[in-house]
Symmetry: C2
Subunit: 229 residues, 2 copies
Amino acid sequence: MNTRMADNVREALEQMIVTGEFADGERLDEIRLAERFHVSRTPLREAFQMLAASGLVELVPRRGAFVRHPAFHEMIEMFEVMAELEAVCGRLAARRVTPEVLEQVRATVIACEAAVEAGDSDGYYRENEHFHQLIYAASGNDFLAQESQRLHKRLQPFRRMQLRVRGRMIQSLTEHRQILTALETGDSDTAEAVLRDHVAVQGGKFNDLMASYKQSNLRANSQPMAMRG
Amino acid sequence: MNTRMADNVREALEQMIVTGEFADGERLDEIRLAERFHVSRTPLREAFQMLAASGLVELVPRRGAFVRHPAFHEMIEMFEVMAELEAVCGRLAARRVTPEVLEQVRATVIACEAAVEAGDSDGYYRENEHFHQLIYAASGNDFLAQESQRLHKRLQPFRRMQLRVRGRMIQSLTEHRQILTALETGDSDTAEAVLRDHVAVQGGKFNDLMASYKQSNLRANSQPMAMRG
DNA sequence: GTCAAACGTTTTGTATACAAGAATTCGATT
DNA sequence: AATCGAATTCTTGTATACAAAACGTTTGAC
């Protein structure tokens, strides 16, 4: 819990938006939310600014803040960019990774294996997150790592949907192993290629994602509600 | 001029920071700036939020807003990411570009040629911006285009430094021609490779950039001034 | 002379007040 | 009955007021 109310409100709203508590295009009522969080409108508006910066809401002047769930095609676009960012991270990491970080990656892959054997999908989710954080850091480019993390975080709810799909965990683990080997041997081409495919939405994954997207309460609509006819 | 004061203040501050009007680590005094812009602290603080989101200032709780000029190595990192983003844009664009956009790219290259012949470096700068915007759009991925544009804008001051270097305009134009050809022939590998090298800071460009960086009044320091000993 | 505690000052973070721009309601007119 | 428009109500954007945290300075003890 931060001492700044604005940060707490941002976090709370972020969670609420990401978990689909608001419909797409819904207006965030300043007064009602201020009452709900027991704060004044000032920190709430600061939170709106931050949410707008990360693309979760759209601020329309003199109209208000509208939640902005990505349409399906936008989500696909984001995954395409994510795949490229991870591919670059992998390519650079294969050349730049330090023995210490490599050891951590190894440990994470082992933890992933354990999670798969135990059928612990939550545990796998955690270790998977860790794995990707390590790849970002291993790129040796802090700015790249930061940007990758930012987008990774934004795609979190959709990734969560994905993990439910049968057999996905095993496939993911196999790819993690391949990536680890590529890093160990300094094979940047393989690291790049496997990571791109690992993240990319294609083939069966596309259909799985589409199905879970439709089931979710995140509705696709690029127009803010204020603009609707 | 926007009707929202906060947006105007953001834009003004952005320009001031980018042009080096503030030293790195300098604290932005809310009261003094509010007086200077003839606004209250409220819209000023909103502007701070936005600037923090785009990385131009660092918001330290209970301490204030500190301007954050990238250190040299951070700038290099950003260029590395920019090169990769443009490379991806190029690769996708070679496959997806529409005849209409391709025609616009052609026109822009012609305008670049005219600017070089006329020795009009401002004109070249403008057309060069246009060229890259078109490449982003041609990628067919709006999210990618948006992110590329965001980073492109952030690197603007450094790119401006670069254009002063002798012979850079001619080299840039040659590369533009190569990229255009790659797009016309759908050669995604070439488009990717040329664009990466076009943007990448390497060889002579590295030294040129370092020299102009040192000359600029943008000082490298990753610590906020409040934290200094 | 140095260090630290206490006091006063400055500055941030939040609440509230107020003005101006949207949205809505309701009545008048065709 | 539908539509246009004026009046009313809400909501946003900004200013100001106030509380609490950080900062600086002075004073006192060793």
